[in-house]
Symmetry: C2
C-alpha cells in the first residue's frame, strides 16, 4: 500500500477534529512528502476500547461520547449541512484514497463470500458455517447492494474503520484514532462498524466468563451501550438538523421543507434508511470478522476453540439474519432482542 | 455560468463516443483555454427529435438506437464493468462540473416545490395545480430522496440532460448531443429523462390533433417507443453484463456471483431498482417542465391555452402518481397503461 494513506489519515483527523475536537486527537504537524505526522499523545490510562471490552470494564460515557462524535462528523460533512460545491470538492479529494477503499471492498464485501486463501475461521468447528456463507444466495444479493452503496454513495466524510480497536478510552474520555480509511461514503458504514463490533464484544463474553465473573452484568451493559449509542446518535443528529435547518444544506431547502410536520416526516424517513444501512453494514462487518481475513481479539482471545466457535457461530447467525432482515427492524430495542435470542447462555 | 462546461461537454462526448460511436458525434478538436470545440456537423435531414415528435413523424429505429446508446454508455462507465480505481478517477474529475449539477438540482428538484420567481405555468388554468405541487408533502418526501441520490450516487457517467431536445434524428440515424451536464450520477436520471420527455410528447399530441390528423396512431407509436426503449435497454444492458461478467467490474465478482441462478437474481434486483429510479427521475423531469422554469416546445406550441393546460394537467397528474407509486410498477407495460388512464381523449 502507498504511503498516501497517511495523508488521508491526517486530513480526516483534522476535519473530524474541527467538528468533534473533544473526541479526536489534535494533529500538530503533517509532512506529506515524508508521510510524517505529529499528533497528540493519547496518554495513559487511555487504552484501546476493545481491550477494555475484553477485560469487562464499563465505560459509562461511551455511548454519549460516540454518539456525539458520529452525529457531528457525519452531519457536518453531509448535504444536510453543506452545499453541493463544498461537498463535491471533498468527494473529489478523497476519491484518491482509493487503495484503502479497495482493501475494504475486498475484505468486507468480497472475500467472506468466496473461496479465498486469506479467509480463515475456527476450523473444523465452523467449516460448514463458512461454507454456508459462501453458498447463501440471499446473503450475496444483500451484500452486493451494500458493496455498491459503499463505493458509489458519497453521503459524508466517514472514518471508514470505526471499530472498537480505533477508539481509545478512559471512563471519562473517548478518542477516535486511525481514520486512514477516511473518504466520502455512506454514514451507515461508520455507525454499523461501531455497533457491529459492540455486538461481537457481546457474543465474546460467554468465552470470557469464569467462576469469578459470569459476565452477565457486563453483557447487559454492552447491550445498553448499543441501545443508547443509536438512540443518542439519532437524537443528536436530528437536533443538529433542526438547529441548522435554515442553513446552506442542499438536501432539504427550508422553503421546500417548510412546515414542521413535513420536516419531521423527512427526518423520520432519513433516519429509518440510515438505521437500516447501519444494520446492514454492521452485520457485514461482523461476518467478515468470523470467516474473513482479519479477526477480532474479543473472540481470538478465547483459548478453548470449541467455546470460541460457539460464540462465533451465535454472532455469525445473528449477523446473517440482521443483514437479510434489516428493513424489518424499526427500533434498536428490537435489534437488542434479536441479539439476545441468539445467545444460548 | 463558467465556460468550463464546454470542457465537460467535450469530455463526455469523447467518452460516450468511444463507447457508442454510432450515436455520438465525433469531437475533432477541443481547446480548453478557448472553450473551442470542433465536432461533426450533424447534417440535414437530421432534426431535433422534439421537433419531429411535434410534427408527428415516426422514427422506427429510435427505441433500438437509444437503448443501444444508453446500455453502452451506462454499462461501460459503471462498476459492472470498471474497477474502483478507474471509477473513482472518473468520479473525481467530473466533480468539477458542479455548476451544471447545481443548476439541475435547482430547476428539477427544488424550484417546482417552492415559490420561486423562475417558476411559470399556464395560468390561470394551472394555478391550483402548481400550488398543489408545492403543498404535496408526500411528493416532497419522494423528491428529497431523488435529489440526494442525484448528488450522492456516482453510478455511471451520465449525459445529464437526455431529453428529446438533446437528440438529433433521421429515420435511420440517432445522434445524442449537448452532454454539458455530464457527470457521474444515477443511471436512472438519463433513462428517466428520455422516457419522461416521450411521455410529455404523448400528452401534447391531443393539442396537436386537428381534422386532418387525430394523432391517435402517432400516440400509439410513442407508447410503443417508450415500451421498446425500456425493454430493449434492459435486454441489451443485461446482455452486456453477461458478456463481461468475467471481467474487471468490481460490483459483482465472478467468484462470488458464481452460479447462473444467483447472477440472474442479482440482475433482476439491479434492473428493478434501476427501473424505479428511472420512473422517479422521469416523472420529476415531467413535473418541472410544467410548473418550473423551462418548458418544452411540445406543450408550449399548443396555442390554445385552455387546451394546453388540459394536456399539461394530464401529464402532471400522471407524473405525480408515478413519482409517488413508482415502486409498485413491475413492467413498462403497466406504466403505459397508467399513462393512458390519464389521457381523457
Amino acid at each position: 500500500m502507498t504511503r498516501e494513506r497517511a495523508y488521508f489519515e491526517a486530513s480526516t483527523l483534522r476535519e473530524h477534529g474541527r467538528l468533534s475536537p473533544e473526541h479526536t486527537p489534535e494533529v500538530y504537524h503533517f509532512d506529506r512528502a515524508m508521510s510524517l505526522m505529529g499528533m497528540r499523545y493519547i496518554e495513559p490510562p487511555h487504552i484501546i476500547l476493545r481491550k477494555g471490552l475484553i477485560a469487562g470494564v464499563e465505560y459509562p460515557l461511551l455511548a454519549d461520547h460516540m454518539s456525539n462524535y458520529m452525529a457531528k462528523t457525519l452531519f457536518f460533512t453531509s448535504l444536510l449541512y453543506n452545499n453541493t460545491t463544498d461537498h463535491k470538492k471533498g468527494v473529489a479529494e478523497y476519491c484518491a484514497n482509493v487503495e484503502m477503499c479497495r482493501l475494504t471492498e475486498q475484505v468486507v464485501f468480497s472475500d467472506p463470500y468466496r473461496v479465498s486463501k486469506f479467509n480463515r475461521w475456527t476450523s473444523p468447528y465452523l467449516d460448514k458455517d463458512a461454507e454456508a456463507v459462501r453458498e447463501d444466495d440471499e446473503l450475496k444479493l444483500e451484500i452486493a447492494e451494500l458493496k455498491s452503496m459503499f463505493i458509489e454513495r458519497a453521503q459524508a466524510l466517514i472514518h471508514g474503520d470505526l471499530h472498537t480497536g480505533s477508539i481509545m478510552v478512559t471512563p471519562n474520555s473517548t478518542q477516535v484514532i486511525d481514520p486512514e480509511f477516511g473518504f466520502y461514503g455512506p454514514m451507515g458504514f461508520d455507525i454499523g462498524a461501531f455497533l457491529g463490533n459492540l455486538i461481537l464484544a457481546y457474543y465474546a463474553q460467554n468465552g470470557h466468563a469464569d467462576q469469578t465473573n459470569d459476565r452477565k452484568a457486563y453483557k447487559k451493559w454492552i447491550l445498553k451501550t448499543i441501545e443508547e449509542s443509536w438512540n443518542l446518535f439519532q437524537k443528536k443528529f436530528v437536533e443538529l438538523w433542526n438547529k441548522h435547518k435554515e442553513g446552506n444544506g442542499e438536501a432539504y431547502l427550508p422553503d421546500v421543507y417548510n412546515n414542521s410536520n413535513l420536516l419531521s416526516l423527512a427526518q423520520k424517513k432519513y433516519m429509518t434508511n440510515l438505521f437500516h444501512d447501519s444494520l446492514g453494514f454492521g452485520s457485514a462487518k461482523m461476518i467478515r470478522r468470523i470467516v474473513g481475513i482479519a479477526h477480532v481479539e474479543d473472540l481470538e482471545s478465547i483459548k478453548d476453540a470449541s467455546k470460541r466457535a460457539e460464540c462465533e457461530r451465535a454472532a455469525l447467525n445473528c449477523a446473517k439474519t440482521i443483514l437479510k432482515g434489516r428493513r424489518q427492524f424499526e427500533t434498536i430495542e428490537q435489534v437488542i432482542e434479536h441479539i439476545q435470542s441468539f445467545d444460548r447462555d
